[in-house]
């Protein structure tokens, strides 16, 4: 036990102290947050607050209908006369307008092609706010033309929003399919990436020990099984550390960035912008998303994530360690052997993308029970609520498979790690496996 602890410590410390570890650990959250910040910045960029809008309304239908939305909307809407689209297009900037809206005359009540001229791409919020105004004006005119009282119409109009209630376990819960979908997808991808990245890290570690010929020195001090387990656990701990740091750093960055770049976030809190945003995104939806997240079984999701991370990692790390132990220096040989291990991983990923759309299909249920794919696929189903027996069976099978693979790998590893310069065939590996002792 003491030896395993020493080996874990070495595997962990040598990796954590590497410059590349520090770099990826710090750079990845920075990149993610920067990406996120750029998206926000781009989507709200442009002069949203005060637009000087020139409107050329050839049909004279919208005078008075397109105006500022409220007292927070400081944009001006100027209706111009005696101009054509072509003639004014080249002038509006010089005359002090930032945007030029061209509404051709209506022919037979049909809505013409409306154009918004600008110097650069128009902000989404501005565009949708304008569309909303024009739509409302047209609707109103049509209602009047049809002798319908607009107030009456407003009362008649329906706008339903279906709520999905899941009746399982502790009473009724609200669920928002979109939120469940996103969280499932992210969790599934994360598990897939973890298995792939840290699995291959284990493989490379074993190969390094083999090519450096240190393996023989170590196994004259510790059992091969201790060396293998120490490596797997050590690298797993590196992975957990990296995730913990990522979560902390991202949390801190989200807190710090608004302080560093207040202008971006002051725009977000600007009522004109949020109004526009709310009009297009529908403020009810944001509340729904928050409610949806709250309604998800968060504890269960986090527990399952950790369980499938550990179980899946231990299982795949054992397989990758076995491969590392049988290949000699040849990288190409390693790739050939890695392929059969990669297949179920990729298969799991594919089933997961199907499972998040149809979490109770036969394929999804199979994928979430079959141990080689279950860590990925079950994460894709977990947010939708999985019957307890399936979850339990899946976990038990995963643990049993992990134990079986560790036992198998230990046998291959013990022989493979001391074998140099010879290509190992599947048949030989099978012999090592069934051999006694």
């Amino acid at each position: 036990m003491n030896k395993i602890r020493l080996i874990i410590e070495r595997e962990y410390m040598t990796r954590v102290r590497r410059k590349s570890f520090l770099l990826t650990t710090l750079v990845v959250p920075l990149v993610i947050v920067a990406f996120y910040a750029i998206i926000i910045a781009v989507s709200i960029s442009g002069d949203t607050k005060t637009q000087n809008l020139a409107v050329l309304d050839e049909g004279n239908l919208f005078e008075g209908a397109i105006t500022a939305a409220g007292k927070d909307d400081k944009s001006t809407y100027t209706f111009i006369q005696n101009e054509t689209e072509q003639s004014f297009k080249s002038k509006y900037k010089k005359e002090g307008y930032s945007l030029f809206l061209y509404i051709p005359a209506f022919k037979d009540g049909e809505i013409p092609h409306i154009k918004l001229h600008s110097q650069s791409a128009v902000n989404l919020f501005v565009k949708s706010a304008l569309e909303k105004k024009i739509n409302a004006a047209i609707e109103r005119k049509r209602l009047v033309a049809a002798h319908i009282d607009p107030e009456l119409y407003k009362n008649i109009k329906a706008d339903v929003d279906i709520e999905n209630a899941i009746d399982s376990g502790a009473g009724e819960k609200k669920s928002i399919a979109g939120v469940a979908y996103a969280i499932s997808f992210i969790a599934g991808i994360l598990i897939y990436m973890i298995l792939l990245i840290y699995g291959t890290m284990v493989m490379r570690g074993v190969m390094e020990e083999k090519t450096n010929r240190i393996a023989e020195v170590i196994v004259s001090s510790a059992k091969p099984f201790q060396l293998m387990l120490g490596k797997i656990i050590g690298i797993g701990a590196v992975g957990l550390t990296q995730f913990a740091i990522w979560i902390v750093v991202m949390g801190v960055l989200q807190f710090i960035i608004p302080l560093l770049f207040p202008e971006i976030f002051s725009q977000l809190s600007d009522p004109a912008v949020t109004n526009a945003a709310a009009q297009s995104v529908n403020s009810q939806k944001i509340a729904d998303i928050i409610e949806g997240i709250q309604s998800l079984p968060i504890t269960l999701i986090i527990f399952s994530f950790l369980f499938y991370f550990l179980g899946g990692y231990l299982m795949y790390a054992a397989l990758f360690a076995a491969i590392g132990s049988v290949v000699s220096e040849d990288q190409q040989e390693a790739q050939q052997l890695v392929f059969p291990v990669m297949m179920p991983l990729i298969l799991g990923f594919v089933i997961m993308t199907k499972a998040i759309n149809d979490p109770d299909s036969g394929l999804a249920v199979f994928g979430s029970l079959f141990p080689l794919t279950s860590p990925i696929v079950m994460m894709g189903r977990i947010t939708y609520g999985v019957p307890w027996w399936q979850l339990g069976l899946s976990m038990v099978m995963l643990v049993l498979t992990f134990l079986f693979f560790t036992w198998v790998t230990a046998k291959i590893y013990r022989t493979g790690i001391l074998l140099y310069g010879k290509k190992v065939t599947w048949k030989e590996m099978w012999k090592w496996l069934v051999r006694k002792g």
Binding site: N212, A215, E216, V217, V219
Partner: protein
């Protein structure tokens, strides 16, 4: 004297060959024991069984009077494999510390011993260097230190001098003698015969998985001697030729090499030579070198072993 290691009827068969086939020997406490054999004779497999890396198919290993128990006994053994291995990217001090602690030393003990050995072999300045920055000879020295650091009762060195310059080879050789004098037993595996003659007390010769020779260096040489004597003369005689007592098998400068016939003794040769009135300045027996014995025994068998079907 007490035997630190007893190996009896050890066998290890791999799928394609009999790597070790019924080998028995014993090693006395404090001896420097030479294990010789051509490439592929089965030395490494034998050593791996003694170090607990492989389990024998049959046969017993007795270590310090008890049945060999790999889990507990390997900390009493230091093994330097022929294929040297160190973590290339790990700092030298940390690496020595890690390997020593794996052998069961506490951190404080290990640090103290590392300090002692690093000072002794003038390696103190290496502490923060990485193995990949060391020359081959330097990493060889480091490997030796990590092998003997935990003061094992049995030290197994597989080709310890390969890659070392004469100065460092002598340094290591002196350390081996010192360790043996302090009570450690040393198994020294090699195919370099001149080193064996110089260092070892007792040797065995392994070929094709079987032991074909066992004895002290002195006894082995006696066993294989061919009764050849070198006689030095003041003036090289032209008249002495083969006769009933001896054959002249060669000459060198002022001396003749004589092979004494069965039934005669060196005394008879001297009497004959004295009677012939030639001035003799030296008379000594030429014993075969281990190299000659080795070649004679192994010759005729293919060096690289033919693979047998299982």
């Amino acid at each position: 004297m007490q035997h630190i290691l007893n190996v009896e009827h050890l066998k290890k068969y791999f799928a394609t060959q009999k790597a070790v086939d019924d080998v028995s020997f014993s090693i006395e406490q404090g001896a420097i024991f030479g294990m010789l054999g051509p490439n592929g004779a089965g030395k490494t497999t034998l050593l791996r069984m003694i170090t607990g890396i492989f389990f024998p198919d049959s046969g017993t290993i007795t270590f310090e009077g008890k049945k060999f128990d790999p889990v507990n006994d390997i900390i009493r053994i230091g093994y330097m494999p022929e294929e040297r291995g160190l973590y290339k990217k790990m700092k030298i001090g940390e690496q020595a510390l890690y390997l020593a602690r794996l052998k069961g030393l506490s951190k404080a003990e290990a640090l103290e011993k590392i300090k002692f050995w690093f000072q002794r072999l003038e390696m103190e300045s290496w502490w923060n260097k990485k193995v990949q920055d060391l020359s081959k000879g330097m990493s060889q020295k480091l490997q030796f230190v990590t092998t003997v650091l935990h003061e094992p009762a049995l030290i197994i060195l597989d080709e310890p001098f390969s890659g070392l310059d004469p100065v460092n080879a002598n340094l290591i050789k002196d350390e081996i003698f010192r360790l043996a004098k302090n009570g450690s037993t040393i198994i020294f595996s090699t195919h370099r015969m001149e080193q064996v003659e110089e260092i070892c007390d007792h040797i065995i010769l392994i070929n094709k998985g079987s032991k074909i020779l066992d004895g002290t260096v002195k006894n082995v040489k006696q066993e294989f001697k061919e009764n050849i004597f070198q006689v030095g003369f003041e003036v090289k005689p032209a008249t002495i030729g083969s006769n009933s007592i001896f054959d002249v098998t060669g000459e060198k400068d002022q001396s003749l090499l004589l092979k004494i016939h069965d039934g005669y003794k060196p005394h008879d040769v001297l009497q004959y030579l004295l009677a012939s009135q030639h001035e003799i300045v030296s008379f000594n027996e030429i014993l075969p070198s281990l190299n000659d014995i080795f070649i004679r025994l192994v010759e005729g068998t293919p060096m690289a072993r033919a693979f047998q079907s299982a």
